[in-house]
């Protein structure tokens, strides 16, 4: 068997297993840890797709920043009254949601399989970080600047929303 095939299956099982753990664990801290594992699995999936820069961004932004932000949020709002094992339970739509996603997965996989994908056997350049930089600053320079503005607005908005409200009484 090819090494790439083995790598794909190992990564797929680790990623999907930890994604299931995110949903099914009932302690929300354990869910957050499984979420980091899922992000790392997806980063290695990018490596098998020759997207080195995106793998690095995934590790930095998701496995680094977003997971720390989520853990901080959990710390701020979970006043554990000694019952951390029940902080991430299912609501009343557990079975309805299962029916919905089973139907959705059936539809998606049916259309994936019947679509005649026109696969071209070119090879993605191994070193595509320079290409990403050139395309980003030539063709996509306005969305790039808009992304910067969006990040600033989101940061200021998050500070304003989460700030301690002065007591009006």
């Amino acid at each position: 068997m090819d090494l790439q095939v083995i790598a794909f299956w190992i990564i797929a099982f680790v990623t999907l297993g930890s994604a299931l753990a995110v949903v099914y664990l009932t302690n929300i801290v354990h869910s957050a840890l499984a979420l980091i594992m899922t992000f790392l699995g997806i980063a290695s999936l990018y490596l098998t797709l020759h997207a080195d820069f995106l793998a690095a961004v995934q590790v930095l932004v998701y496995a680094g920043a977003v997971s720390i932000l989520i853990v901080f949020g959990i710390m701020l709002i979970t006043r554990g009254e000694g019952r951390m094992c029940e902080t991430n339970t299912f609501g009343k739509y557990k079975y309805t949601a299962f029916v919905v996603i089973a139907a959705l997965f059936g539809v998606i996989s049916y259309f994936i399989i019947i679509t005649p994908w026109q696969v071209t056997n070119g090879i993605v350049a191994e070193e595509n970080m320079g290409t990403i930089g050139e395309v980003l600053f030539n063709n996509f320079v306005i969305p790039f600047e808009l992304a910067a503005i969006l990040l600033t607005v989101a940061m200021i908005g998050a500070i304003v929303i989460a700030r301690e409200v002065k007591n009006l009484k």
Binding site: L69, G73, K92, G122
Partner: protein, 102 residues
């Protein structure tokens, strides 16, 4: 041989797991986590399609970068809203958030 269908089915399964969490969980932070899973599944789709269908073109990876930016904004604002709700109501279970219901 790993084909495009393997990657697309993998990301479909990941998307469905995330959607299941987003629909069925009680805790608002768990719902945010599930939405992150769904956005990651979309990114896997974009990168896989770049690799297999348009190998000389890099546009899919650029789109994945923008999705990552928007996802970072979304999780920051979402957590800020959850913290504000918790300060007001002392709970983040979405079944208790019913201001708009009468």
């Amino acid at each position: 041989m790993i084909t495009l269908n393997h990657y697309l089915l993998l990301s479909a399964i990941l998307f469905c797991i995330g959607l299941y969490g987003a629909l069925s969980k009680k805790n608002a932070i768990a719902i945010l986590i599930s939405i992150e899973l769904m956005l990651n599944a979309v990114n896997v789709n974009l990168v896989a399609i770049t690799k297999f269908l348009t190998p000389g073109d890099i546009t899919g990876q650029i789109f994945a970068l923008f999705v990552i930016v928007v996802a970072a904004c979304e999780v920051a604002l979402g957590l800020a809203i959850v913290v504000a709700i918790y300060r007001d109501r002392s709970t983040v279970e979405v079944e208790n958030l019913d201001w708009l219901k009468w």
